[in-house]
């Protein structure tokens, strides 16, 4: 797993690659919370394009950040879920609460 981060204005864009499990969950949680704590960012854009695996530990980290952002008035947007991991996100009801867009630019410009 690798994570690439960049901040664009008030948004943190995280590009995730490879297998996302409890190890990735801990890293994602730590980084996102740190930037949110320090008021560096208000929104999260999570790019899943190059993710090959994702389990319930990472789902938990994702939803945890979503809940926090909602309380703090921020937004969370997913970009490019690959077909192989989509069923896992669907089973967890992610798409009922999170918006997905096809590209990072749409996520950043976005509504």
């Amino acid at each position: 797993m690798t994570m690439e981060h960049l901040t664009v204005g008030a948004s943190l864009v995280t590009r995730l690659t490879g297998e996302l499990d409890l190890v990735a969950a801990a890293e994602f949680r730590r980084l996102a919370d740190d930037l949110l704590d320090r008021r560096k960012v208000r929104h999260l854009v999570v790019n899943l394009e190059r993710v090959t695996f994702l389990d319930s530990s990472f789902l938990g980290a994702l939803l945890g950040r979503y809940k926090r952002l909602r309380m703090e008035g921020g937004r969370m947007v997913l970009v490019g879920t690959p077909p192989t991991v989509r069923p896992t996100l669907e089973a967890a009801g992610i798409y009922a609460i999170l918006r997905e867009v096809p590209s990072e630019s749409e996520a950043l410009s976005g509504a």
């Binding site: 530990s57 192989t84 967890a92």
Partner: protein, 147 residues
């Protein structure tokens, strides 16, 4: 083809990936589809994660035992820990039930929905043993017969 791999893993988070890959490699020796191998990886990931974080409370000095056996086109996976155990298994297996507020309580659901069978045995204070099986091509069969 028949095969058996038994592995004892230190209870560190990094070994969840090792367990997943091992199960996937054994499954790939049979007629499992890529999608089925992905399902096996998810189930193994959930079971080994539970052993590491719930069973052993994320303490790294313990051992998780994983046994992967291939009988022709059926895979059997055993995941065992000697950790704290589960008080109420039926409750723990329900969706959205978790002893950790930061977790989703979906682990057992994913094991159940992605494998053909799931059995959980646990003794509080002694440990937990999860047994899962999956047949290659069972999904297609289920779909074809409309079941």
């Amino acid at each position: 083809m028949q095969n058996r791999v038994v592995v004892e893993l230190a209870s560190v988070p990094q070994n969840v990936a090792v367990a997943r890959l091992l199960a996937a490699m054994v499954a790939a020796q049979a007629n499992f589809t890529v999608a089925e191998v992905d399902e096996i990886k998810l189930a193994v990931s959930e079971a080994v994660t539970n052993a590491v974080i719930h069973g052993y409370g994320s303490q790294p000095e313990h051992v998780v035992r994983l046994e992967v056996t291939l009988f022709d086109n059926r895979l059997e996976v055993l995941v065992e820990d000697q950790g704290r155990g589960i008080d109420d298994i039926a409750l723990a297996m329900q969706p959205a039930v978790s002893s950790d507020p930061d977790r989703m309580g979906l682990g057992f659901c994913f094991m159940e929905s992605h494998m053909d069978s799931l059995e959980v045995e646990s003794t509080p204070g002694r440990g937990t043993r999860v047994r899962m099986t999956k047949k290659a091509g069972s999904e297609h069969l289920a779909r074809a017969t409309g079941s």
